[in-house]
């Protein structure tokens, strides 16, 4: 099936320009992103991202798995926010099934999601600052990130590929003493943010490097399908947690930081403000945590407790059925968008009534946001490309899937 695909080579449009290759193994591209730059001296004339180096065909693999087997695949898409991906997929399938999730599970999901956002933003902050030349912040950020990863490990057994959310609730109740550890971390964390900010926010070198760099207007950002902090820093006030609440976000009070400046510095400020908001939401989730079960009452979908399985014949049968045959999902389709640290993470799941999804599509924020890079960088200096890439916070696993 040979297609006439146009040639991917970027020809210089004029004699005085040259083509410069950046990546895929470049320390500032946050993964394997390759950029083809057409430069006129130090100025960028054209920029062309080349992606797909991490494409693993997850969407195809999902079609061959049972619904519950897809959950561990979703972690591997965006390795900096596994819980967000778990959640988006679980919510999509739960919507297809019409499942009701008990409040305790919802609140723990909110809590873990905000910890995930903190985790992801800390990696962004550390690497972004390091790209700009501020080495120290990286070490500070990874110190706190380690704490978050330890919390993930305690709750799910894994630091990064958590797979802790299941269709119908959580895998299991968080261990004893875990909430106290979270509480200790959340009490300490605002001080840590102050520490990062004292190193960066008013640092003249950092500010000069970021202000008025890689500007994008609100209209352009919307037209180029940008979402999340990239969009909010251009003045479009959209946050799906507030606008289309899912998993009980309507019970939480928080602000949505925005800015109208639209440059790299604005995106930095928005994300740092989001760190503080996430800490607030997580604290509220911890304080108001309801009692009750963490799994939905749906024996045909949710695996039974280990104890019941050993004592009750019925539970054992359900367990055997779910593990060997999966569970069927009524025909239909659902698009479930949620607010990931990078923007709109949407799962489009189509069911044909069998135990395997007919189609799973991930609308990943990195993939869409990467398109704004062109608008941000053309006509600017090569050195600003690094700042711009850092400011849209892409994860290439998320981008290529």
């Amino acid at each position: 099936m040979a297609h006439m695909t146009p040639t991917p080579v970027l020809d210089p449009s004029q004699d005085k320009t040259m083509i410069l290759n950046m990546g895929p193994q470049h320390p500032s591209t946050h993964g394997v992103l390759r950029l083809l730059l057409e430069v006129d001296g130090e100025t960028i004339v054209r920029i062309m991202p080349d992606i797909g180096y991490l494409h693993t065909g997850i969407e195809k693999t999902c079609e061959a798995k049972f619904y519950q087997q897809v959950v561990p695949m979703t972690d591997r898409i965006d390795y900096l926010c596994p819980m967000t991906n778990n959640l988006a997929y679980c919510l999509a399938v739960e919507k297809l099934l019409g499942l009701e999730i008990p409040p305790r599970a919802q609140w723990v999901r909110v809590l873990l999601n905000e910890l995930t956002r903190i985790n992801s933003h800390l990696v962004w902050l550390g690497t972004h600052a390091m790209d700009i030349g501020a080495m120290t912040v990286f070490l500070y950020c990874f110190r706190e990130r380690e704490d978050v990863l330890r919390l993930f490990e305690a709750v799910s057994g894994q630091r990064m590929m958590t797979s802790y959310f299941r269709i119908g609730g959580l895998a299991l109740e968080p261990p004893l003493g875990w909430f106290d550890r979270v509480k200790k971390f959340l009490l300490r964390f605002p001080g840590n943010i102050d520490e990062y900010e004292s190193l960066l926010t008013n640092n003249p070198i950092f500010v000069n490097r970021l202000k008025d760099v890689a500007y994008i207007s609100a209209d352009d950002a919307v037209a180029l399908c940008a979402t999340g902090p990239t969009l909010r820093a251009s003045g479009v006030d959209v946050d799906l947690r507030r606008d289309l609440p899912y998993t009980g976000y309507e019970n939480f009070k928080f602000n949505v930081p925005t800015s109208t400046a639209g440059d790299v510095y604005a995106r930095y400020l928005v994300r740092v403000a989001e760190l503080r908001e996430s800490q607030k939401i997580a604290t509220q989730a911890l304080e108001g945590l309801p009692e009750g079960p963490v799994k939905a009452d749906a024996p045909k979908v949710v695996l039974p407790d280990r104890e019941k399985m050993k004592t009750q014949m019925e539970a054992l049968i359900y367990h055997f059925k779910i593990v060997t045959e999966g569970f069927t999902v009524p025909e239909g389709e659902v698009y479930m968008p949620i607010e990931s640290p990078r923007g709109e993470m949407g799962y489009y799941v189509v069911s044909d009534g069998t135990a395997k999804p007919y189609r799973v599509h991930m609308r990943s924020p990195s993939f869409a946001n990467l398109q704004s890079l062109r608008k941000m960088c053309e006509g600017r200096l090569i050195a600003d490309v690094v700042a711009a890439i850092g400011s849209i916070d892409i994860v290439l696993g998320d981008c290529d899937r």
Binding site: M1, A2, H3, T5, P6, P8, I51, G52, H55, G57, E59, K60, T61, E63, A64, K95, L96, L97, G98, L99, E100, V222, A223, L224, C225, A226, T227, V236, V238, D243, L244, P330, G332, E333, V334, Y335, P337, E344, G346, Y348, V350, Y358, R359, H361, R363, F367, A368, L370, Q371, D400, R401
Partner: protein, 165 residues
Amino acid sequence: MALQPAITDIEQLKARPEVAALMEAGPNAVAGAKFDRNELTIWVDRTALRNACNALKNHPQLQYNALADVTCVDWYPREPRFEVVYQLFSTANKKYLRLKVRLSGDDASVDSLTPIWPGANFFEREVFDLFGVRFDEHPDLRRIMMPDDWEGHPLRKDYPVEGYR
């Protein structure tokens, strides 16, 4: 939250502003509609797609000004085989809407939405790469995920998940 049966009767859905706006935009634009699990889906004739999107984008109340996602579903061996799925979003009303275009397997091409939303570029390239659906007037239609010399379109249902091709 028990599941409600899907509403597919176009007469019942005519009252919805999205369906009404599209019917106004062109007499044959709407090929069907469905309201299921709180999500509205409208099937649009492939020749009317760009008009439909423009009408929804410039509608004074609806203002579906953002394109959230473009993807495709392969219903092989059923014909028309492909369904290209567009998710529109209104940043003012914070609402989603799904548009779908049915395409047959031997003539899988549809107008590109890049003139309306430049951001459709990557999404349409991805659908082209993985499904082989062509987008007319796309500025840069070539593979994005797979290598340039790859043969076949991996997300088609007649493409094996594993093993040799």
